[in-house]
Amino acid sequence: MATINLSSLQTSPSLHFLSLCSSQNTPTLSFYSHSKPFPTFSLKPFTATVKFKPRSFVIPAAFKPLAETELVTVPLTENEFNSKMPSDCGIYAVYDKNNDLQFIGISRNIGASVFSHLKSVPELCNSVKVGVVDEPDKASLTEAWKSWMEEHIKATGKVPPGNESGNVTWVRQPPKKKADLRLTPGRHVQLAVPLEELIDQLVKENKVVAFIKGSRSAPMCGFSQRVIGILESEGVDYESVDVLDEEYNSGLRETLKKYSNWPTFPQIFMNGELVGGCDILTSMHEKAGIVVHMFLFAILNLTVMPTSSSWSNPPFLGAKNCGMPLALVDARIASPYRGQLEDRKKLDVNIFLLVFRSVCKTLLEARLCSGAKRLIHVVA
């Protein structure tokens, strides 16, 4: 029995019309798109000499058969990329260096999909054929994808390796949700160290910890839910602790309130320091992106920081002239930290700038936040 893995265009696809042919060795097929679920469809096995039944679907004429589509070498610069790879709905076929077809995908944004492939498997992405589908409904897209698949199977008798089942090279895996952390082994187990110390260890050993009501997969209060939503959307790797879990986190609520000197939940810690609750996290998110804040926190926790006088000394002066550290201080995101910035003793400016640039670059590459773009602009 052959199966097709569809990472569908919408969350609950009903692609039963997809009676796609497959060869005798019953490969399974997958196509790529952005959304998470991967339902599996069962298909009837089929002979390799494929003959296609006429279909009731009208295939939109905007894309050509695979063989007639122009092969575009994947451009390396961003500008070229944006001009050559449409951000339209459609289908695309990726070829490797030997011009072997590796994968046929379907996407709501061809450019973005190809870009993400290029990032995840650059060695397999040499050139691309693109077919824009004018009527971007699910049925037309699927038909278009099928027609290319069928054409390829007919010509070569093979399914593109990336479309075979079990091949996850081209399919974005849904992020695995981490489990919530538990502070204790259970309510009835005598703790060797006070709870307060466990909290202290936890927040210091993990970069970002969110103490929430309910679990991260099922938050039980609107504020906790918003916090989780923000952290997830920023792509932050964080730990979560359910303060309502009386079995494994018994007594946590009261102890944490004292530990952090903060009376409500959720509470978010970064680098061992309380960042605040939902309100503060939300405003950070709106202003600059949490990742930039995390970075600022990281800087502030460095033992080496500039003195106020060193801001005006070379080589820091150069940095200042190009907007740094004013970028840091005056980008408003940092204004609450102004005092802290100037308190620090000493800084190896070059290291600082190096770190700052590389962090911004990483952020930018990961397209994590617009704040990073602004910051890298002034330092680059």
Binding site: M220, P263, G276, D279, I280
Partner: protein, 100 residues
Amino acid sequence: MILSRANRMKTKLQSSLEASFLEIEDVSHQHAGHAAMKGNTAGETHFNVKIVSPKFDGLNPVKRHRLVYDALAEELQSGLHALSIVAKTPQEEEVVAAKK
């Protein structure tokens, strides 16, 4: 006469933080059903607080919120469950007003 929690909060924040602007909105009804509210009959549990005070000057958000929480410590002991806080200095508020 027993004052409502909102009124008590207003008085406390006003006196301890010398607020130049203070707005308190009871949004308890929005949270009446949520899990942590089971068995809580206090009624006034959730508030939005907008406060402008010169005492926030030079403080980061955490410290500002702490000032508010400190002023309302008794209320938090007696059933006040959560606050949504906007804490600004008069200067920041002017900037916002100027932009509008």
